[in-house]
Amino acid sequence: MHSAEGELSFWRKYVFSTDHKVIGKQFLFSSLFFFIVGGLLALLIRTQLAWPWEEIPVVGPLIYGEESGNILLPERYPALVTMHGTIMIFFFIIPILSGAFGNFLIPLMIGAKDMAFPRVNMISYWVMVPAFLVMVASFFVEGGTAAAGWTSYVPLSARPDMIPGSGLGQTLWIVSLLLVGTSSTMGAINYVTTIVTLRAKGMQMFRLPLTIWALFITAILVLLATPVLTSGLLLLLLDRTIGTHFFLPDGGGQVLLWQHLFWFYSHPAVYIMILPAMGMASDIISCFARKPLFGYRPMVFSIMGIAGLGFIVWGHHMFQSGMNPVLGITFMTSTMMIALPSAIKTFNWLATLWRGQLHLTAPMLNALAFVSTFVIGGLSGIYSAATPVDIFIHDTYWIVGHIHYVLFGGSLFGVFAAIQYWFPKMFGRTMSDRWGKVHFALTFVTFNCVFFPMFILGERGMPRRLADPYNYNFLASLQPLNQFMTVSAYALALSQIILFANFFVSLYRGRAAVANPWLANTLEWTTSSPPPLENFHTAPVVHRGPYEYSSPEVSEDWLPQDRVLGGAAAD
């Protein structure tokens, strides 16, 4: 192994690197690739819902092939839905938030040289790669990919002979997710250890930026929830391979057991997918409002509250499953309690903006979109949490609208904000703010045109995962609305080309970035852009919290965490 700086071979520097910044970028590029894959699958779903069973010019023959007459076969529609969900959740949102930004930001923002276990960190990426390959391979096996939904409900997923997609494709789906789980557990152990043990001198826990707090608590969620999914997936694999009947009622198994094990992981996973975005949006909003974040400690405690409550609400996915209704009331109550810490966060973001010097840069606009769409997503969640309402809206497009307002409107706008905010630090160049604003405006408008009508569809009773709703008379009148949504979805997808073009052109042609382009306070901006191999030229010493904007102590409107003030230092 090479140890001296600057003489690492190509493989050690870019491929099997132990540098958290390189690993973060590996996660970034892989997850952006799967963002495109998942997005294209969504367009196929939308096309089917607008013009069912019609041949798509040019692309249709390429995707569906001669064998199926160049059109989507009815039994493949659930496969599209399954893979869209699986890829967006496990290969895009989770890896880009925890994998890309977690890796890149944690050591930089706490003032460390690297993660606690750089080699484990490298392995956690290289366990993801076979997961990617296995999942991609499942598109090409007989019967195609898994088709039992991203939740892989049993018994559809528990026996190989149920539907075309429950053959090898389902097995590969399980194997891939086992690998993803291993990778994220390794990452989580590393993140928690790093944040607890490697903080710079003076970086008390309550001086950590909220990005780090959010990633820290997310890592604890991953650590405690993922192994339960692993145990469930292994039982499912045994049902499929050696013929046990854990989830098959004909052999004495329990269908609901899978749902409990799955949601015990996947409800906390919802917070794994939103908390990091909340943390990053908090930092970005405070920076561009040039004001201290309102209510720093309540913000931290509300993240903890959301995470803690997140472990006792999983049953709200199962109100209609035949679970004991008394249990349903319990889960309804605990779910509604999540509105409290979420509201604390929302009001604190608004109070941070109040009378701030708003700088409406592209990252800031995306962070504001995060807050506003998260409110719609969150409020629709309260409706879904009420058992009487859920009886009506369960398994309809209302739920699809809700999850997309939280995951696209929340997490993805957070990701857009974060990419453009930290791009200068990651690559030493600046993305175009003007094109960033164009991308933002188009995305924000088309996003609402695609997803808001889903609430209307849901209220009108349109079920999700239905390939051709217009077979039913009461849904036939919804086709024009669906066509409008599909056209908007095309526009939404095309708008992302602007982001990708801006990203890749800036990578090579962007203006060289200074160390602290946004005049921000946190430690990553005190080192050069991009940072050197071990991040800091001299070990930083922290004297204050991360949000000292417009402080009366200095003439500038920012006060970095490590600056020593003349005479009496704050610490």
């Binding site: 152990i189 903080r199 650590l223 145990s231 039982l235 050696i242 052999g251 004495g252 329990q254 094990l261």
Partner: protein, 194 residues
């Protein structure tokens, strides 16, 4: 995952050694893994009307002996750690070796038990009892196997004087071994006794 690697960044917080802290986190995730399996076992057992009478099928005295062997292996492990902590670099590798041997005996007896059960037609695919029994004891057995390999590796290192300056490695393998032992005590109770 368990043999954690080069920690080139210098720790700034000396409350607990970085690797040991990570080991505890790893064990926390392992606890959640076994919790998933145990919850599945409890749920399935209470929803199965004709759950067999355990002592009629399982060889409880033999497995009680096996449990005793595993507990003794924890004693030898803690003795190894105690010796190395008090500077007995000559004696402690023998206790590590004893731990590994006891672990192997445990696995052998478990193999005998499994073979006998399968001979009687109790298989993972034939009943929920068989499915949960083999899955829970099987995943525990895999953990013991991993533990034996780690202990043997540590024994080899110990005989070569690898822990003269720093015996943290002995403590880590010990933590893991006690965890596996503890899981067995829970599994033995819920599968064989209750």
């Amino acid at each position: 995952m368990t043999h954690t690697t080069a920690t080139h960044p210098t720790p700034t917080w000396e409350g607990i050694k970085t690797v040991k802290f990570a080991m505890w986190l790893f064990l926390a995730s392992e606890i959640m893994f076994f919790t998933g399996l145990i919850v599945a076992y409890i749920a399935l057992r209470y929803s199965t009307p004709n759950w067999p009478v355990v002592r009629d099928i399982l060889n409880v005295p033999l497995v009680a002996l096996n449990t005793f062997i595993l507990i003794i292996s924890s004693v030898t492990m803690v003795t190894a750690y105690d010796r190395v902590e008090h500077g007995d670099h000559k004696g402690f590798p023998n206790f590590l070796l004893a731990t590994a041997v006891l672990g192997l005996i445990f696995l052998s007896i478990q193999a005998i038990e499994w073979t006998a059960l399968m001979g009687e037609g109790v298989l993972p695919a034939t009943s929920i009892f068989g499915a949960t029994f083999f899955t829970l004891t099987g995943f525990h057995g895999l953990h013991v196997t991993g533990g034996v390999i780690w202990v043997l590796w540590a024994t080899r290192k110990a005989f070569r004087g690898g822990y003269h300056h720093d015996h943290l490695g002995v403590e880590l393998v010990g933590l893991y071994w006690h965890f596996v032992d503890l899981v067995w005590i829970i599994l033995f109770t819920i599968i064989y006794l209750i």
